[in-house]
């Protein structure tokens, strides 16, 4: 990030970029206005029906609310513990085995687990651990298709691969000389763990724990699909039930405010534990020899952990294919509802990906120019307008929209646009964080040269900035597309027979025990997301080819 130091040179540069700066400020104001109006309306809704101090506190400290928070905290703690244990142990095992292909397979699988929609993952988990699942019979009466352990397993499915990837990178980034010293002094497995592995893992544990705890504590779709009752729930699921089934809007508003307070508190508490992902380049070209590599106990424990990873992460993905019943499953494609949901999801995801990436580019541009000009207040305002949506869970946002707009318009008529808006707003914090470092670097590199050559505005963006960012743009478009395609949060409130997305339709099939059709739809969603990544890759590959030629001719024109 750039420091807030105003210099004459940056002042002169800044004079040329007023439009991009102002566009970003306007976008920031719009984002903040949407978020704040929803929050305010919820406050009024809760305050209008309750006497704030007495009834508000009654709701917060009601036995049922405390039970919900207790249940969510217990579930989130278990999920965090198991994800960390599996992720760290597997990273250690994988690094100790030092097998190139094994590492490649495990890391690719873990990436796949990170992009699988939660509804599809839930289906895969049931496919493995459910009563008729691949391993369901092993647990006998222990396993039920729904309940705490299913939710914990699903959360571990998403979070253990994240831990594994981060921890593996951290191990790779340990200085090569650590391993040299360890080999020279013939350190034992325990000494290697204490001196090298633990020092790689230690800085990750608090940031990862707080992140995973927050994700599991605010989990919605997994708990909705696999929770199986009031014993396993989160505040988000309770808000959904309050709106959708009980239609108790003041209660929903009060629970939403409570959820925002808890989320803000958790984020504030975890603020000192920032996760620094290290670049795994330190050991390139050096042989990492470990004295415990051939140890039979180490070998056995490593393979046991890798087998656990395989069962937890890989098996649910395999189960989707394994359980596929083509004869009844294929009937899915004859249904008009499926095709309607398909086109709705595609339109939503494409629009959401394109618009959110455009807004992110505008915001990053603007923020960069504001930093250059030393405008701390507006820079912080733009940061706030984006990060605000990390504090507000999607279902709280949907509830707020519901309360805010229901008196003015028919919500089901504008459901498409509401879901689109939610998808854009909730993917923005992630997209800006991924895109910002590269875009800021490219802007800083190109500033002087492009001004000297007179290449500015859209022309500069399309000929210089865009080709330099093709990889990052492919990634954020893919992530944003996948995020929207797999989202099962806002749609649960606004979805109906006339407006369905693929995950919503999957949820409906899942709830109706339409197993073979649900399996087929789950697999279709998985393949569709994968194809979308390939498609964005292909588009940017073509774009880069075209622009490499274009830039060569441009440079030739100037050198002549």
């Amino acid at each position: 990030m750039f420091s807030f130091r105003k210099s004459t040179q940056t002042q002169i540069l800044f004079e040329h970029f007023r439009i991009s700066r102002n566009l970003g400020i306007i976008s920031g104001f719009l984002l903040a206005a949407i978020g704040c109006s929803i929050l305010l309306r919820m406050f009024f809704m809760a305050g209008g029906n309750y006497y704030w101090v007495e009834d508000g506190i009654d709701v917060i400290f009601a036995k049922s609310t405390v039970l919900i928070i207790k249940s969510a905290a217990w579930q989130a703690s278990l999920s965090t513990l198991i994800s960390l244990l599996i992720g760290l142990s597997c990273a250690r095992a994988l690094y100790r085995r030092n097998n190139h292909w094994m590492s490649k397979i495990v890391l690719s699988t873990s990436f796949l687990a990170l992009v699988v929609p939660s509804s599809v993952a839930a289906l895969g988990i049931v496919g493995v651990w459910g009563r008729n699942g691949l391993l369901g019979t092993i647990g006998g009466e222990m396993t039920s298709p729904f309940g705490l352990w299913m939710v914990v397993l699903a959360h571990a499915f998403f979070n253990a691969p994240l831990v594994l990837r981060v921890a593996f990178s951290s191990l790779q980034a340990q200085p090569a000389y650590f391993w040299k010293i360890a080999a020279q002094r013939h350190l034992t497995t325990m000494q290697i763990f204490k001196l090298i592995e633990w020092s790689a893992f230690q800085p990750l544990i608090l940031p990862l724990s707080s992140l995973i705890f927050l994700l599991c504590f605010t989990s919605f779709s997994i708990v909705l699909m696999l929770g199986g009752g009031p014993n396993v729930t989160t505040l988000e699921v309770s808000i959904y039930h309050a709106v959708r089934f009980a239609f108790d809007l003041p209660l929903a508003a009060m629970l939403s405010i409570l959820q925002i307070i808890i989320c803000s508190g958790l984020i504030l508490l975890s603020k000192p534990f920032t996760l620094h992902i290290t670049s795994p380049t330190a050991n390139k070209g050096t042989i990492v020899c470990r004295s415990d590599h051939g140890n039979i106990i180490a070998k056995t424990t490593d393979y046991i952990w890798l087998a656990i990873f395989f069962i937890l992460i890989f098996l649910p993905l395999i189960a989707l294919f394994y359980r596929l019943d083509l004869t009844s499953g294929l009937s899915l494609f004859n249904q008009k509802r499926f095709w309607d949901a398909f086109f709705t999801s595609t339109n939503l995801s494409l629009l959401s990906a394109l618009i959110s990436v455009c807004i992110a580019v505008i915001l990053i541009h603007s923020r960069f120019r504001l930093v250059q000009s030393g405008n701390l207040i507006l820079t912080r305002f733009i940061d706030f307008s984006v990060s605000y949506y990390l504090l507000m869970p999607a279902i709280v946002f949907a509830t707020g929209c519901f309360i805010l707009l229901r008196d003015f318009i028919s919500l089901f008529d504008v459901a498409f646009w509401l879901v689109l808006m939610a998808n854009i707003l909730f993917s923005l914090p992630f997209i800006t964080r991924i895109l910002a470092p590269s875009l800021e670097r490219v802007l800083a590199q190109h500033d002087k040269l492009s001004l000297q050559l007179g290449i500015t505005g859209i022309r500069r963006f399309s000929t210089l900035t865009l080709p330099a960012l093709h990889r990052e743009l492919q990634l954020v478009l893919g992530i944003s597309f996948a995020f929207s395609l797999g989202d099962l949060s806002v749609i649960t409130l606004f979805g109906s027979q006339n407006f369905e997305t693929l995950p919503f339709y999957l949820y409906q099939l899942f709830s109706r025990y339409g197993a073979s059709e649900a399996d087929m739809l789950g697999m279709f969603l998985l393949v569709y997301i994968f194809m979308a990544y390939l498609f964005f890759g292909f588009v940017f590959w073509c774009f880069r080819k075209f622009h490499t030629l274009d830039r060569v001719s441009l440079l030739n024109a100037y050198t002549r």
Partner: protein, 201 residues
């Protein structure tokens, strides 16, 4: 006897170096040559951290190339990075050595002799370059291996300390009959008499 038999190695962006050497017990071999010629890489090859392209490293009738680094009878003092930064000097020195009374006495003797005794409880990052170099030499000597490889052991030391360190190396050669391979840019002949000099080019 240590034999490097047509030992060839290379590293990215380099020519292949081929080394032949026969060193008897108690001998001192000085390796010299310009920077970037592969002197430290040669130590890495002998210690087992870099794969040679061909040749053999024989120790008696044993080919060391088939042995992992921890089973080679070698103690290395690297040019830098000899210690775990999160452990005290005392803990670093005791790592990978047998915790015996005799060894602790020797450690105290070395520490006193090289005037670094007061540093035992300090962290490596708080030591100066010269102090680190003296402690690294002590650690290499403490392991009592038949082959010692010292990469630039005197580069950060003043003349007085070079003399003292050389005296410890001579003692080790006489008492333990160990082979010392030293990489040095400085002229060390006033302090240590080399039995062989290998000039890499």
């Amino acid at each position: 006897m240590l034999i490097l038999d047509r030992l060839a190695y290379n590293w990215p962006g380099s020519m292949t170096q081929v080394i032949n050497l026969k060193a008897d017990l108690g001998q001192l071999i000085v390796i010299s040559g310009p920077s970037g010629i592969g002197k430290s890489t040669l130590f890495d090859v002998i210690a087992g951290f870099h794969k040679p392209s061909s040749g053999n490293i024989m120790w008696g009738d044993k080919n060391l190339l088939v042995e992992p680094p921890w089973l080679r009878p070698i103690s290395v003092m690297f040019q830098s990075d000899n210690f775990f930064p999160h452990l005290s000097i005392r803990k670093n020195l005791m790592l990978g050595v047998k915790n015996s009374k005799k060894l602790i006495e020797r450690m105290h003797y070395y520490m006193n002799f090289l005037e670094v005794y007061d540093l035992l409880n300090r962290q490596p990052e708080s030591l100066s370059g010269g102090e680190l170099q003296r402690v690294s030499l002590i650690h290499a000597l403490m392991r009592e291996m038949p082959i010692l490889m010292l990469d630039e052991p005197f580069s950060a030391l003043d003349l007085d300390m070079v003399e003292k360190s050389s005296q410890l190396i001579k003692e080790d050669m006489q008492i333990n009959k160990s082979i010392h391979l030293i990489i040095s840019h400085q002229d060390i002949t006033p302090f240590l008499a080399a039995d062989q000099i290998i000039e890499l080019s």
